[in-house]
Amino acid sequence: MITLNINGKDVQLDAPDDMPILWALRDVVHLTGTKFGCGMAQCGACTVHLDGQAIRSCVTPVTAAVGKKITTIEHMQNDKVGQAVQAAWSAVDVVQCGYCQSGQIMAATALLTSNKKPTDDDIDAAMSGNICRCGTYPRIRAAIHEAANKLA
């Protein structure tokens, strides 16, 4: 048994030490908003926040999260920046298939939390680890700028 703090709650779960946070979330706790895309830190679909930092949950073992706070897409509506990002995503109508979007929103929220007015270059740097096969990139960029404006 291992105790993880997920979205503000301590949760006891039966997961081996080497199990990536992604699979603990998806297959043990059944929080499926966080997605699997590559399993090797290449696509960003599995992005969650660990103490506010965007991490790739597919390559981070559960033991690395002990004593820290895991935040997932399911909690973004309770986060001020997360709310603004989700509202901007809706205003710009970003999503297509939607599969990458939890990870995109988690990455964008982490970016805007640390950088209130990201430039296009900042967005390139922060978001290039998140693949969208549907090519929603122009709308993601527009939505990040829109969220930054709303938060200003």
């Binding site: 499926t32 897409i73 109508d93 298939c97 979007q101 967005i123 290039s128 990139y137």
Partner: protein, 725 residues
């Protein structure tokens, strides 16, 4: 459009009371030709199906005023979750905020109106459903109006409908309050559809209905399916296509905590476990000896040489006119070129997965699929059931791009085999590596062209030979797509090219090698290679003639107004011919596919051999655009998908094995690579075409034509990769 449609002649309609209250409208098409897999009988034909109960419906009006629209097609990003309901809501005068959407089950009612099988593909959903969904809306409205007339004791003609209400003078009754009474009425024999001038919803940019759940993480994809007792499986498959299991040792795999069973299935060895992590570790620990089979020597370089050798001889004719030899002998100049395009994986963001629960006399399947029709038949065949005993729950697809529409039903069949062998409900999941290495690729193609031009630089003889695998061979579409040995999709965009048709002497021929690589339609199918070849060749001709790329195309496309309209619109918006920032160059390409016409203009710079695309200007003519914003989104999507393939993606073989494995070596577009995109729509009332694919074909040639403008180097092999380094 304004004449009453006699629905009863074209379609079988029934309106019935919902067991839970409300009104159901169901359609079926008794005369539609169905495609059936060998061994599947048509016992479950439409007559039978018309007796099916409530789920087989297009539309439900609930007593709580909700309007539930059933989608005969799958939502995979293209936004039909919104577009098809728009068609119903328009005719129904529905309250848009009360619309709910569901994927339909696999059933004969939902077979494609043109393709004869339940499928989402060919950029066809909106045009193929434009009448059927509007009719469903209009018919429901008529029933509700009749119910209101009866209730109020007034003539039906005096009743207006608006925003979910039937209105007569100062009296208003909600659709929900009329639903049960409407269900008891006789179905009207005919309905009149609205005139386009009266449309309030069709043609208006409309927000996606699936937006909220895809933003807050609650949307359920196949991968997210979970119920008690559902196990996770991963399958070890042959590293070479066509290989088989010689022997395996599961002892180490079975020692992994959470692994329950290791079973052999036709495609390999499956490890069945509590969760993905255990299944993956179990599979890593598995030792399998393979019979590699006949493809163990497959090698991409050798394959190109082999295809080149084939291209040296004439293939089966696909288009022919005049006499190329005589014309060529009189020509001023002959231009010869060879183009090569690689195998490509679709790599949708959601890796393939399929959950299966089998019981005595039924099977339930949960997956994201584009082709419920063949999936259902394939599962029935494996289990010895009737198709109607196989229930398919379609979840949101985390991308499809053609990969999830497989006539061979590969990932569904395998998952059924795994669940059957395991004897428990199982979700079979693919890793990204499984996806990249798993086949069903866009086939590799080699094209050679020999074009004779006259003194004005215009083509007078065009000899064109294409070499590549057939996608349609062995599928239910074979009879309809392969004529005299020529798969129409292998040469689409070439054999019917306006450039070739406009050249008085031409010969297009095709070689169809039986290379042992599973192939499949990849977003835009044959156009994904043919447009690159044709639009590059035309650029070569323009350059050889000393003409501007746009002017030269205008001259050749003089009799093709829809091509011309997009060409002119994109050129104007991109300021064609006007100066650009230093180091930036333009390229242009136009192509017709899936009934739509698209021009792309690329602005590109090349620095130390690295290509940077700064801006793409796109103009599309797809006839009527039902939702202009989702049309724009599809163009953005096509540009991203097309640029990835143009710049970096390729699947290659060495010693029979795929050399790529994940996104680090099967490279796709990322945020920093994405140019600015502008999309312009040619407004007209022409026949409707598709939008999910037609934006893609002209992307690569627009970029490589710009690269030529920048460097003088003609890119004839994709991807561009490091060819300029």
């Amino acid at each position: 459009m304004n004449s009453p449609l006699n629905i009863s002649r074209r379609t079988f309609i029934k309106a019935t009371a919902l067991a839970v209250g409300g009104l159901v409208i169901a359609f079926s098409i008794p005369n539609a030709k169905r495609f059936l897999l060998p061994g599947i009988s048509d016992a479950n034909a439409s007559e039978e199906a018309s007796k099916l109960p409530t789920p087989n419906a297009f539309l439900r009006v609930g007593t709580d005023n909700t309007i539930t629209v059933m989608l005969a097609h799958s939502e995979m990003g293209q936004s039909i979750w919104t577009t098809l309901p728009m068609l119903i809501a328009e005719e129904l005068d529905a309250d848009w905020s009360k619309i709910k959407v569901m994927h339909a089950p696999a059933a004969p009612e939902y077979i494609h109106t043109a393709y004869g099988i339940q499928i989402t593909g060919g950029s066809s959903t909106t045009w193929s459903e434009f009448d059927r969904y509007r009719q469903a809306g209009a018919l429901t409205r008529a029933l509700l109006v009749n119910a209101a007339a009866k209730k109020l004791g007034v003539a039906a003609e005096s009743i207006k409908t608006e925003n979910g209400f039937a209105i007569s003078g100062d009296k208003k009754i909600s659709y929900g309050d009329l639903a049960e009474a409407a269900a008891k009425l006789e179905t009207p024999k005919a309905v009149t559809l609205k005139e386009p001038k009266d449309w309030k919803i069709i043609g208006k940019a409309t927000k996606r209905l699936d937006g909220p759940e895809k933003i807050n993480g609650t949307a359920i994809f196949g991968q997210d399916v979970h119920f008690d007792g559902l196990m996770t499986a991963m399958v070890a498959r042959s590293p070479v296509f066509g290989g088989s299991v010689k022997s395996f040792d599961a002892s180490a795999a079975k020692k992994i905590k959470g692994v329950h069973q290791v079973v052999q299935v036709p495609t390999g060895v499956a490890v069945i476990a509590d969760n993905y992590w255990a299944a993956k570790q179990g599979r890593d620990a598995l030792k399998v000896e393979w019979n590699l089979g006949p493809n163990a020597g497959l090698d991409s370089k050798a394959l190109v040489s082999e295809y080149r050798k084939m291209a040296a001889t004439q293939g089966l004719p696909a288009a022919k006119a005049g006499d190329i030899k005589t014309a060529a002998s009189k020509a001023t100049k002959i231009i010869e070129a060879e183009y090569v395009l690689p195998y490509l994986a679709h790599s949708p963001m959601e890796p393939l997965n399929c959950s299966v629960r089998i019981s005595q006399d039924s099977c339930e399947i949960w997956t994201g699929t584009q082709m419920q029709g063949t999936d259902q038949q394939a599962a029935a065949k494996i289990l010895g059931l009737k198709p109607e005993q196989v229930k398919i729950h379609t979840l949101f697809l985390g991308g499809g791009f053609g990969r999830r529409a497989n006539p061979a039903a590969d990932f569904v069949s395998e998952a059924v085999q795994v669940a059957k062998a395991a004897g428990v409900p199982v979700k079979t999941v693919w890793s990204r590596e499984d996806d990249v290495k798993g086949g069903y690729y866009r086939p590799m193609y080699l094209h050679q062209a020999k074009i004779a031009v006259d003194a004005k630089g215009l083509p007078v003889a065009w000899e064109h030979t294409a070499v590549g695998q057939s996608i349609m061979l062995g599928t239910p579409f074979e009879a309809f797509q392969i004529k005299d040995g020529v798969d129409a999709t292998s040469v689409e965009g070439v054999a019917d090219s306006p450039y070739i048709k406009g050249t008085p002497n031409h010969l297009v021929s095709l070689h169809t090698p039986k290379t042992g690589v599973p192939v499949l339609w990849w977003r835009s199918v044959g156009h994904s290679h043919s447009a690159f070849v044709m639009e590059s060749l035309v650029d070569e001709l323009a350059h050889a003639a000393g003409k501007d790329s746009l002017e030269y195309r205008r001259a050749l496309l003089n009799d093709h107004p829809r091509h011309l309209a997009t060409l002119n619109l994109a050129a104007e918006k991109a300021s064609w011919g006007k100066p650009l920032p230093k180091g930036v160059f333009r390229g242009i390409a136009v192509h017709e596919s899936f009934g739509s016409f698209v021009t792309q203009v690329a602005e590109v710079s090349v620095n130390k051999g690295e290509v940077k695309v700064h801006r793409m200007v796109c103009a599309i003519d797809c006839g009527l655009s039902v939702n202009p914003d989702s049309l724009k989104a599809q163009m953005e999507s096509c540009i991203s998908f097309g640029l990835g393939a143009a710049m970096q993606s390729e699947i290659t073989f060495k010693d029979g094995m795929v050399e790529q494995s994940n996104f680090h070596d099967y490279k796709v577009m990322r945020m920093a690579d994405m140019p600015k995109v502008e999309v312009y729509i040619v407004q007209n009332t022409e026949k409707m075409g598709g939008v999910g694919e037609p934006g893609l074909p002209p992307v690569a040639p627009a970029v490589t034509n710009a690269v030529f403008a920048a460097t003088g180097k003609r890119i004839r092999t994709l991807p561009i990769g490091n060819q300029l380094a």
